[in-house]
Symmetry: C2
Subunit: 210 residues, 2 copies
């Protein structure tokens, strides 16, 4: 089993942290985004969307899309569960993770892809060209601000993002916050005290270095 | 178990078709989007994002997000599987469904939400206000056109969207095409012969009436 990834890619980091939390043995294969290796014929053959990460199984099946890779790894290695342990827990974790991804992670990504000069005709990741839309930069940052205020309300009454236990939703949230801090200068607001306390706790886990 | 839904909501239809395919006994509770019942206090208590559908379990747990509801129903009622039957099959179906959703379904939704006068300050579903961005209408329609050409390439060599068997990815694709046809006047292109043949086959299933 090999994970094609990039060290600087937040989506790759989401899978690396899960691998570290569960202590799995997965070979990491770097893809050099700087030279657009993700658009090479060799990489397109395993991921036609030309994005990292991709999990390549020993039988040749290639799995893309971060939450799908994470869920596959959980299914084949259920020890140290990160999606809960019952259908109801899996539903709550899955729902929460998807909302964090749509409202937080995707908003940061959208702000960057519509800003960076090098992505001028690639405002959406994938094989097709799309022009940048400057109005989206403003709107994406509003969405990140709302993501922080909604997260603060939620963490006031909950130890972790999807409930009492650390889960994949905490991984998505940690990566989103580091991504917003480093790439669009939107760190956790000073007033978001519950988010700050949660962040200290989660960033202290060894997996956060992955 | 109750599904809060709206007859005219494509996201609700995705769950209704799965229920019909699997022959499940789920009570349907209508939510009147015309009077913005989704923003009522009663509905917000079960879905703070104020969108349909929501699956309310008998123990009070509320599950939102279409693929999460679908996967929960599959887990508790595995007969007539719509996600495959092995971890590898579930990964391929999940990956394919997510791409159809992101590239097809979400593009149609984005075109509409940035167009319709009644959604002027609600360009993104949920509790927060976001202004419409006219440039997104153009870009969303380009994305729908690319969705059709990518789908045509895929269905030339595959009986169903995620492989040899009918799956939840076919449900998402059917609903996306009907949504594009009816809401933004983008039916299947004449040249997409494999998509047209697939559509005839899938639309003939009784579940498509759900």
């Amino acid at each position: 089993m090999k994970l094609y990834h990039s060290k600087g890619s937040p989506n790759s980091r989401r899978v690396r942290i899960l691998i570290a939390e569960k202590g799995l043995d997965v070979e990491l294969v770097p893809v050099d985004l700087g030279i657009r290796e993700q658009a090479s014929d060799a990489y397109k053959a395993i991921n036609p969307r030309q994005v990292v990460p991709t999990l390549l199984l020993d039988n040749g099946i290639a799995i893309g899309e971060v939450p799908v890779i994470q869920r596959y790894l959980e299914e084949v290695s259920p020890e140290k569960p990160l999606f809960g342990t019952t259908p109801e827990e899996r539903a709550v974790v899955g729902m929460t993770d998807r909302r964090i991804e749509a409202e937080g992670f995707a908003s940061v990504m959208e702000a960057i892809r519509n800003t960076v000069a090098g992505l001028k005709d690639r405002a959406i990741a994938g094989p097709h060209s799309y022009a940048q839309i400057p109005d989206l930069i403003v709107r994406s940052k509003q969405r990140v601000a709302n993501f922080y205020s909604d997260l603060e309300a939620s963490l006031k009454t909950s130890a972790y993002v999807a409930g009492a236990d650390f889960s994949v939703a905490d991984i998505t949230t940690l990566v989103t916050i580091d991504f917003a801090t480093n790439a669009i200068s939107m760190p956790i607001p000073e007033t978001a005290v519950a988010v700050r306390a949660w962040y200290e706790k989660v960033a202290a886990r060894p997996s956060s270095q992955a």
